[in-house]
């Protein structure tokens, strides 16, 4: 039996792993996006009393390796009596972790937002939330598109760390196959293929969105 044949026989496992990776990734980036927007809204023109702790939280998340965050949530919380389910721990940790990154990306873009547009909105009688959701957020998102694309790739790769908390996603499947049959090269070529396909798909989507913002002069690509 050649190495490739072994892998072919394990194709169902791979597909299930891939599907689970997709599921985790999709759910968690959707969550991360909402968290990022929420944090930006909270940072928007709030008092220092609120923004300081938020900024500290965001920076702390940026400093902490994802692996360790997951580890602490999954193996650490039980020691204070909280026992989370592996799958939801993974999705939740990814969402919060990358949510803070989204927030930081949005925030640094928000800093360069032309004040004139805000004034124009105020002069037209916009309230804070209307202004945020109708005018600020759409532009911030359009302008940070390339950075968000990068972040998505980081998030995709972080899903692989969930092996450590027993989530059977794509990398876990490959690990287990390769350590049962020690065929790492072949198993990992397949995995790289899957991840690559996913990130190429993302790049294409992001590029397509680029047309949308290029029309509005946000992109000189």
């Amino acid at each position: 039996m050649s190495n490739w044949e072994i892998l072919w026989q394990a194709r169902d496992e791979f597909l299930i792993g891939f599907w689970r990776t997709l599921e985790i990734f999709g759910l968690s980036i959707a969550g991360a996006f909402l968290i990022g927007c929420g944090l930006l809204y909270l940072l928007e023109g709030s008092r220092k009393r609120l923004t300081m702790p938020l900024r500290i939280f965001i920076d702390a998340m940026r400093m902490l390796p994802f692996l360790i965050l997951v580890y602490l949530l999954y193996y650490g919380l039980p020691s204070v009596g909280i026992r989370l389910d592996a799958w939801w721990t993974g999705v939740g940790a990814l969402a919060v972790y990358h949510g803070t990154y989204f927030a930081e990306i949005f925030r640094s873009n928000r800093l360069t937002f032309p004040p004139g547009q805000i004034e124009a909105a105020k002069a037209h009688g916009f309230t804070k939330s209307k202004m945020f959701f109708r005018l600020i957020l759409p532009q911030v998102i359009m302008q940070t598109r390339p950075l968000l694309g990068n972040q998505l790739i980081y998030a995709l790769k972080d899903t692989a760390f969930l092996v450590i908390i027993t989530v059977r996603e794509l990398t876990a499947v490959a690990n287990s196959l390769s350590s049962t049959y020690f065929i790492p090269t072949e198993a990992f070529i397949v995995v790289i293929g899957f991840y690559w396909a996913l990130s190429v798909a993302m790049e294409i989507i992001i590029k397509q969105c680029g047309r949308f913002s290029a029309k509005r002069g946000f992109d000189n690509v």
């Binding site: 124009a120 509005r216 002069g217």
Partner: protein, 262 residues
Amino acid sequence: MSEANTSETAAVSIRHLSKSFDDVEVLRDVELEVKTGEVVTIIGSSGSGKSTLLRCINWLEKPDRGSIHIAGQRIGVHDDGRAMPVRELAKVRAKTGMVFQGFNLWPHLNVLHNVTEAPIHVQGKSKREAEALAKALLDKVGMSHKHDSYPNTLSGGQKQRVAIARALAMQPTVMLFDEPTSALDPELVGEVLAVIKDLSAEGYTMVMVTHEMAFARAVSDQVVFLEKGLIIERADPETFFTTPKTDRVRKFLENHDTPSPA
């Protein structure tokens, strides 16, 4: 309360307005009354406080003292000194339409949506109603053919005309213009001034800061000269431009009529 009475009849009524930035007094005890249908031009040298005065009118800048009424309603604070809640402030603000030097169109919305955005989301108009109004206004400023273009594809003059339509769409009591043509190429100035002139002919109430003396003379009912935050001269345009009372204004007009090297 005499104050409330006079402001009821005026579109804008400014009383004892003062404002400082970091201990520098930028506006000092300014009084100004704009009647409905009147066009008031504010002129003065750079840094004299023109923009600040205009921005106080719709509370983009918070004055230190004094009161401002728009169509009889006080903006920013209640008479008893309580600050206005943001929602209420936004409502009073919507009675003014402001046109900025830098246009400040919202780049992610096309021309039509720039104009309909506030009527729909601030005034709660239906989409259909707002679009009908927007199309009429874009027609008025000669921009209806561009209604689905995005701001980045427009020339400066076109942008400014859209900005005017956008401000008009809120059907404001008074229009505020802050140097609406000074960011434009000389050849684009004309088209914007033409639109503003039309508006004045239609009886819109307007307060305008401008450097275009000839234009100010042609459209104003009242000209106000600011110097270091003080109104040092106010008159009808004929008097103001031909027989200014103070030396300062005379010197200013000399410098401005024919721009020449220092």
